[in-house]
Symmetry: C2
Subunit: 166 residues, 2 copies
DNA sequence: AAGCTAATTGCAATCGGATTGCAGCTACAT
DNA sequence: ATGTAGCTGCAATCCGATTGCAATTAGCTT
């Protein structure tokens, strides 16, 4: 790693060493803040900004990549040789990775068709995990406070007015 | 639509009518700002906030959903009966939609395996579109997607890939 | 070992989109 | 026409992302 940086005119510092280690040893898709927390548990003096910049660096040299799940916060994932997808629970935020060369191939084909040179795949299924569904039932709470809930897909065919025809 | 709102104790206003129309007639995945621009071209008095809130409303009733592409800005897409994927060019930001029941089915299966009840699919291929690749060549730019160039400029302005936005 | 310089760091400030508080306005049930 | 729950616009606020800057440091040079 040190050498890797050297060839780019970059320096290895104790901070970077700590952050690298934290990043590559941690679970995938962490936010800057999460990683920073882990980092300060190893060296309390390292600043958030430094973690952020190092993460950026890691992405720039191709060892990591930004991920955008559905909560508006940027996450960082180390780059794996094989693209993979995520199952994300929108309730508890838990994630699970999965691999499917079949899906990747289909996507590749589709990109080719349009002349897009793929750099990254984002494959995510967002939903409610088993655990959360069970909890919901357990609490006997069938609530779903009015307007918050999604209407069941069936009647989405609402005429948007006497205004413009879609 | 008016009736639809009514049943939820919500009101139809001229602003909403305009925003609804703009949203459903526009191309997919627009940002709040983009939609707002379109809206003020129809009625200059409508505020950004109102567009934002209406978009939120649309999502809450299940007619739209947030999308997070890779540039840190939230986009809104109208919900289509069938899930679809996007091809996104990270250079020019252009997007193209595509449908693949095969991919959806595979994802569904995989989610089932883990007990995740799917609510939404995110299927995106990010890369460089044909047009941008041609432009890059045309400009005589030596194409080197691997990580190399390090401008010794003061601050890091490397834009290897994946990291930078549009 | 000491010197030199560009790279790096921490802090505070800034940026910018997302979100909210509030007072005035309006749709619409009565 | 009237009352009231909902809207709306504006300004303020929130909050993660990003940057300016002066002090510090890694790593090369002598």
């Amino acid at each position: 790693m040190r050498n890797f940086l050297k060839t780019k005119g970059l320096k290895m510092t104790s901070q970077r060493e700590t952050i690298f280690r934290a990043f590559f040893e941690s679970e995938p898709h962490m936010t800057v803040e999460e990683l920073h927390e882990r980092v300060i548990s190893m060296d309390p003096a390292i600043a958030y900004t430094t973690v952020w910049r190092t993460l950026k660096l890691i992405c720039e040299v191709g060892l990591g990549e930004k991920k955008y799940f559905g909560d508006g916060v940027v996450r960082y994932d180390r780059v794996t040789a094989t693209p993979h997808g995520h199952l994300v629970c929108q309730k508890c935020g838990s994630t699970e990775e999965f691999f499917s060369s079949e899906i990747t191939r289909l996507l590749q084909d589709r990109a080719d068709e349009s002349g897009l040179l793929p750099e990254e795949y984002r494959i995510e299924v967002v939903g409610i995990c088993l655990k959360c569904r069970q909890q919901r039932e357990a609490s006997g709470d069938v609530t779903d406070t009015s307007a918050k809930g999604k209407s069941s897909a069936g009647d989405n065919v609402i005429d948007i007015s006497g205004a413009g025809g879609m």
